[in-house]
């Protein structure tokens, strides 16, 4: 599915990611963990096509090269990222932004799914009329990201700092939804918290430090990180 080869990212001439390789297949959860400032979000933004970054290396999805595609085309090809801090956009309602249905699709069916997903995420009906994320808590914003994910049909899902702003109950709901959809997508879950990642039982855990993946292991690597910290876990 998603194949990253020798990815290097420069921001304002500073190399943040210094040669990174990663393969994510459908149904796999890859946890990317690392200390603050190690380049996790930078990598996520670069994968979905942030144009202000200087990115080299190859990004392939099902053997199609995405490197030269813009953000929109990468989204259409099947990349979906939930943002660490989703913006609030006054003047566009939550409903209007999320429901970007193609003209030929069965709108009633899609609306019915949308309503069910809102119930699952415990977002009330008034949510639809509110401006996009305006006045929304961190948890509501994250739920809104999940709501959008459930209305799209991506191949790869990147969850950037999944747990930011989430209370225990909201985190539970979101983890449940991810587990339900685990087999449908390939997952790259970014976090600096090993506790949250443990709940997802990832197939692979990668430690990102100093712009490189220093260590890759199974879910047990998370225990080592909790016990010894990032630095010592990679020794």
């Amino acid at each position: 599915m998603l194949e990253l080869k020798n990815i290097k990212i420069k921001i304002q001439n500073k190399e943040v990611i210094k040669g990174l390789n990663l393969n994510i297949k459908q149904g796999e959860i890859h946890a990317l963990i690392g200390p603050n400032g190690s380049g996790k979000t930078t990598l996520a933004n670069a994968i979905i096509g942030k144009e202000t970054y200087e990115t080299s290396g190859s990004i392939k999805l099902n053997n199609n090269d995405l490197s030269l595609l813009n953000v929109t085309d990468r989204a259409k090809a099947g990349l979906f990222m939930t943002f660490q801090t989703p913006p609030s956009i006054p003047g566009i309602t939550n409903f209007n932004l999320v429901n970007n249905f193609p003209k030929s699709s069965d709108i009633l069916k899609l609306l019915s799914k949308y309503k069910k997903d809102m119930l699952k995420l415990q977002l009330g009906q008034c949510w639809n009329q509110r401006n996009f994320n305006e006045g929304a808590s961190g948890g509501e914003r994250k739920k809104n990201e999940l709501l959008q994910l459930l209305q799209s049909n991506p191949k790869i899902v990147i969850l950037d700092e999944l747990d930011t702003g989430l209370d225990v109950d909201a985190l539970k709901i979101i983890l449940k939804i991810i587990n339900e959809h685990k087999s449908k997508y390939g997952w790259l879950v970014i976090s600096h918290s090993s506790k949250v990642l443990k709940n997802l039982n990832p197939n692979y855990v990668h430690i990102l430090q100093n712009g490189k993946i220093n260590e890759t292991g199974g879910a047990d690597l998370l225990d080592r990180i909790e016990e010894k910290g990032f630095h010592n876990a990679t020794k």
């Binding site: 979905i48 096509g49 942030k50 202000t52 813009n70 953000v71 929109t72 989204a75 259409k76 979906f80 990222m81 943002f83 989703p86 913006p87 956009i89 006054p90 003047g91 566009i92 932004l97 970007n100 401006n131 959008q148 799209s152």
Partner: protein, 192 residues
Amino acid sequence: MLQNNYVIDKKLETKINIADFTTLNFKVKQNAVACLFFECKGQQNSDTQINIELDESASCELYGFFKNKNKKTSLITNVIHRGDKSKCNQDFRFVNKKGTSSFEGKITIPKNVIKCESHMMNRNILLDNESDAFSKPELDINNDDVICTHGCTIGSLDDEHLFYLQSRGYTYEEAVEMLIEAFAHIRTQEHI
């Protein structure tokens, strides 16, 4: 080009194309309410002055949204509070693409007219480096017993918003159009 005079005794809600006028005079009488929407149709440059006089306890809402593509829209508003407890709210927004907007607004409250409330806001979005916006919001307040605000902003569309919308599959052009529509809508949602 025309001048038009309106006297509002009770209530008026209307949409006016400023391209048709050089001067618009509104007299809002005691306890009357006016809600005026302004737009500018057509490809021609326009230059319009709007004069508002407010009697005691009169209320007036002025909203304008203008897209300037390859043209210039100049607008002068002149709001005079003649009576106590009169209220006015002005919100004029411009989006310029190879275009120019010019807004000059003045609120006048004489010394002997009290308990008035008057607000004026002018916001501009420049979509390219070939666009300009001029803004001069002005207050002429002659007593302390009033509530008045004025302000202006000039900027571009938020890059983060554009990136976010594109990451959801909207093209750059669609994202720009959505954010312009959103910019226009905030106006109505804030005040109506």
